[in-house]
């Protein structure tokens, strides 16, 4: 059996950022395991720009962004293995991976950083009514076919869900000559970034049908037609509101789900994000196992992924060096009214840095409101927001000295201000 100080599962932006950070904090014996044929993960197929504005202060394409991290990883001489798929992790942190050259290999790790990204919610998961023909495809898969393999999946396209990948594919397929007939979003607001609504839909005269969903898929072999319907407040299709579109392609951009089966199978506690529950050091409920990036919670920007991964990498280094003691007393973080989730799920006050980052998303777009952070029932921080939307992940810095004891419950909630 091999031994490593740190094994990182996933060689995308999160994995590479975690590795570089662990290296910069003193670790040398690091191994990145990447299932695909390249480092960089999903950024390889994201050839549009808009990456790096926060982190590098310049606008990069996905491949440009990832190349910078590949250079950083290689500069440090960090070991990585490609085409190497992790099949399981034992409770005592033995990681098993496989590839064609080595077969199944076991690596005993002192620490693990999970950075395996996410997968796309698909037609099966939401049970789109009707037939199950070819042509109903997730937006990311269509993006892979187009940007990596060089094939278009259809000529007449409709898109369900206004997530960013769907919006970007609306523009991309339009540029390739397809006719995009519309985007349906079940919520009364868009789930994509505002810049994508403008640049990918409005600039191409693609209509956005809010509070609509696909109520029927028709086609025996290939998709022939879809129907969309308006939905009521319970998200159920309202009869007699159908609009029919003759299309050969239905792209689904209906959400991303953390690809967290390895940690779930290890018995790591789950959070409401479908990722694992972590503390402020990105440590899961299993000592020495850390999680970051989209496998923890789905981010809006890769810039925030690499920042979070740097925390996980540093924490893993501290853990291996014996500088991250465990404590019994922790603060539980919960999402209050109007908030979808809060990361971290727990704060270990003794280990925490001076400023603790709370990451969360609101449940629906809200104007003129305050974010309240309460600790054991007492408001310790309040921040006014002119507008706040679910498609953007919020990060709030909380000074450690506001938390007086290391025990209790911290809650984040949203309250709308009364109109004057």
């Amino acid at each position: 059996m091999l031994n490593k100080d740190l094994v990182i599962i996933g060689g995308g932006s999160a994995g590479m950022a975690a590795a570089c950070s662990a290296y910069d904090n003193g670790l040398r014996d690091i191994l990145i395991l990447e299932k695909g044929p390249f480092l960089g993960g999903i950024l390889n197929q994201c050839i549009h720009n808009g990456f790096g504005l926060e982190y590098f202060k310049e606008e990069l394409t996905g491949p440009e962004f990832l190349t910078r991290f590949v250079k950083e990883t290689e500069k440090r001489g960090i070991e990585y293995k490609l085409n190497s798929f992790v099949t399981g992790i034992s409770p005592d942190k033995v990681v098993t991976y496989t590839n064609g050259e080595e077969g199944y290999v076991e690596v005993k790790a002192k620490a693990i950083v999970m950075a395996a990204g996410c997968y796309e919610r698909n037609a099966g998961a939401i049970g789109i009514p009707g037939d199950r023909p070819a042509g109903v495809i997730t937006a990311g898969q269509a993006q892979l076919y187009l940007n990596e393999y060089g094939y278009m999946v259809g000529k007449r396209v409709f898109i369900l869900g206004s997530g960013d990948i769907g919006l970007i594919m609306a523009r991309r397929m339009s540029l390739e000559g397809a006719k995009v007939l519309g985007v349906a979003e079940i919520m009364p607001y868009s789930n994509g970034l505002n810049r994508n609504i403008v640049q990918c839909l409005q600039d191409y005269d693609i209509p956005l049908y809010l509070s609509h969903t696909v109520s029927k898929v028709v086609g025996k072999g290939k998709l022939e037609r879809i129907e969309i319907s308006k939905v009521d407040e319970k998200m159920q299709a309202i009869p007699d509101t159908e609009i029919s579109f003759d299309v050969d392609t239905l792209l689904l951009s209906i959400g991303l789900i953390p690809n967290n089966a390895l940690l779930d199978n290890m018995g790591a506690a789950k959070s409401s994000t479908r990722g694992s529950s972590v503390n402020e050091h990105m440590e899961t409920s299993i000592e020495g196992v850390f999680s970051c990036g989209n496998v923890l919670h789905v981010h809006d920007l890769v810039d925030k992924v690499v920042q979070e991964a740097a925390v996980a990498g540093k924490s893993a280094a501290l853990y291996v060096q014996g500088k991250l003691p465990t404590h019994e007393e922790v603060i539980n973080c919960v999402n209050g009214e109007g908030i979808g989730y809060v990361v971290p799920s727990r704060i270990d006050l003794d280990n925490a840095e001076d400023n603790i980052e709370l990451k969360f998303r609101v449940r629906k777009p809200t104007k003129n409101c305050d974010i309240y952070v309460e600790y054991n029932g007492e408001v310790i921080k309040k921040a006014y927001k002119n507008v706040i939307i679910p498609s953007e992940m919020e990060i709030m810095k909380l000074p450690k000295n506001l938390l007086v004891s290391g025990n209790g419950t911290l809650s984040v909630s949203l309250k709308v201000r009364e109109a004057k």
């Binding site: 064609g100 070819a134 390739e176 028709v218």
Partner: protein, 475 residues
């Protein structure tokens, strides 16, 4: 001229083919879809029923019980997953206890082992059962089967033993001409001395090509949910409510792959090709299932699907020569419990109805087994690495969710049974069956198919004609 042409390539055809392949006879199977087992044999509850339910004396009772007894050996020979976990028929009201006793009596008449359980016994064996449970009928011989490989491997075994198969060939007309039959298809004219009609939902249409028939096969749709595999076990047995006129009711079961299946509904319809799902029916399936099993995690749903039962208006399987011709044999109306009955039906049709027509001799070199499908994850690490050292493709993962290696994909592609489509490969190997539903592996699988068959990726089909995934090369 073939000795025998079998119309249809579902599970019944596969087992008739396999049983006929023991004889010195030429057999050709015509299937209109691009894979075997692509209609009713694919979309069902995948249960090997014990046989307590069919009315004693019927063909259903006879072939169900016989098929269940054959299943362990058949599945061993054909390398098909079969987990004999047992079934429980659940009573939720006091008055249903009497119905359980009646069923037990019927089961005993059919020669099926079954016993009554008290509410406490059920709760101990099934922790997620509804607190309303009043008792259950346990049938230990029931089990779950992999329906995809059951059909495919039976046909593969038949082909290894000389049976021929033509996919994508639809029968348009059948005529008796002198001492043989002329079968007009979308690909030309075929000739055979004996015709076996195993055309599933369309078997009434095929039968009526040679004579007027009184019976009909009516499509009865069933809609299902599939949940991901996760621990711990939601249910430990196949759980049925009490059967009614509409069938066996909404069951909750694990599958051989450790997924869970909830369904089916029961809806009569006119269209034999309509396998669509609808939200209202599925919401009723969900509500009914939750009455029997509490806490079903529908959040783990990975797919919904529907299949059509080939329900005969005679209320029993139709397995007999046509009225006019003893060499035109109808094997029709094989609804539930058809899957479990299939090996027994195949044997009966071959040995009792067909072989005597030819006074056929048995082959000396008939092989009941297929070449075992190597599954690296079922081997020890040492065996696995020895395998990968010989063939590195078994170390390369293609499907992440279901952990299917490149070696397994290539194995499925290179068998005697053609595997030409993404869906066929999915049914053979499980690549694309997991929670991402092919999101990650379908592009890889598509390129592997194109490469193997030396065709353009643009020509790779998902399943049916016209189901191309890709439209054109990008600019």
């Amino acid at each position: 001229m073939e000795d025998i042409i079998i119309i249809g390539g579902g599970v019944i055809s596969a087992f008739i083919s396999r049983a006929l392949s023991k004889y010195e006879l030429s057999v050709l199977v015509l299937e209109k879809e691009n894979d075997v087992g692509d209609v009713t044999s694919m979309a069902n509850s995948a249960i090997a029923h014990s046989g307590y339910d069919p009315v004693p004396g019927t063909k259903k009772a006879r072939f169900n019980v016989a098929g269940n007894k054959m299943m362990p050996k058949v599945c061993e020979e054909l390398d098909v997953s079969f987990n004999q976990v047992g079934s429980m028929t659940i009573a939720l009201y006091d008055e249903q206890i009497q119905m359980l006793k009646d069923l037990q009596k019927r089961g005993e008449e059919n020669g099926v082992e079954c016993r009554l359980l008290s509410a406490e016994e059920v709760k101990a064996m099934e922790p997620n059962i509804s607190p309303d449970v009043k008792g259950a009928l346990l049938c230990p011989t029931a089990g779950v089967i992999n329906p995809f490989t059951l059909t495919a491997h039976a046909m593969e075994n038949a082909m290894d033993n000389g049976v021929k198969l033509s996919l994508g060939e639809e029968v348009l007309d059948v005529k008796k001409v002198g001492d043989h039959y002329e079968i007009k298809t979308n690909k030309g004219v075929r000739e055979a001395k004996v015709v076996i009609n195993a055309a599933g939902l369309y078997s009434d249409k095929i039968a009526s090509m040679i004579e007027p028939v009184e019976w009909k096969v009516n499509p009865r749709k069933g809609e299902y949910f599939v949940l991901d595999h996760y621990a711990p076990g939601l249910v430990n047995h196949v759980l049925f409510p009490l059967p009614s006129e509409k069938g066996k009711g909404i069951l909750v079961t694990m599958t051989t792959s450790g997924n869970y299946l909830v369904g089916p509904s029961s809806e009569w319809q006119d269209d034999k090709d309509d396998m669509s799902t609808d939200a209202l029916t599925l919401s009723k399936v969900k509500a009914e299932a939750l009455m029997m099993v509490s806490n079903i995690p529908f959040r783990e749903q990975i797919r919904t699907f529907a299949g059509c039962r080939a329900t005969p208006n005679t209320h029993d399987f139709i397995i007999e020569p046509s009225k006019k011709y003893k060499d035109f044999i109808n094997v029709a109306g094989i609804e539930s419990p058809g899957l479990v009955s299939s090996p027994a039906i195949g044997q009966y049709v071959a040995d009792e109805l067909v072989a005597p027509l030819f006074k056929a001799k048995l082959k000396k070199d008939w092989n009941p087994r297929i070449k075992k499908y190597v599954k690296p994850l079922s081997l020890s690490v040492e065996e696995r690495n020895a395998l990968i050292a010989k063939d590195p493709r078994y170390g390369q993962m293609v499907c992440n969710c279901e952990k299917v290696s490149l070696g397994e994909i290539m194995d499925a592609l290179s068998r005697s049974l053609p595997c030409n489509t993404i869906k066929a490969l999915k049914k053979r190997t499980r690549a694309g069956f997991g929670k991402c539903q092919g999101g990650f592996c379908q592009p890889k699988v598509l390129l592997l198919l194109a490469d193997y068959f030396k065709e353009s990726p643009l020509d790779v089909l998902y399943d049916k004609a016209g189901s191309n995934v890709l439209d054109k090369e990008a600019k």
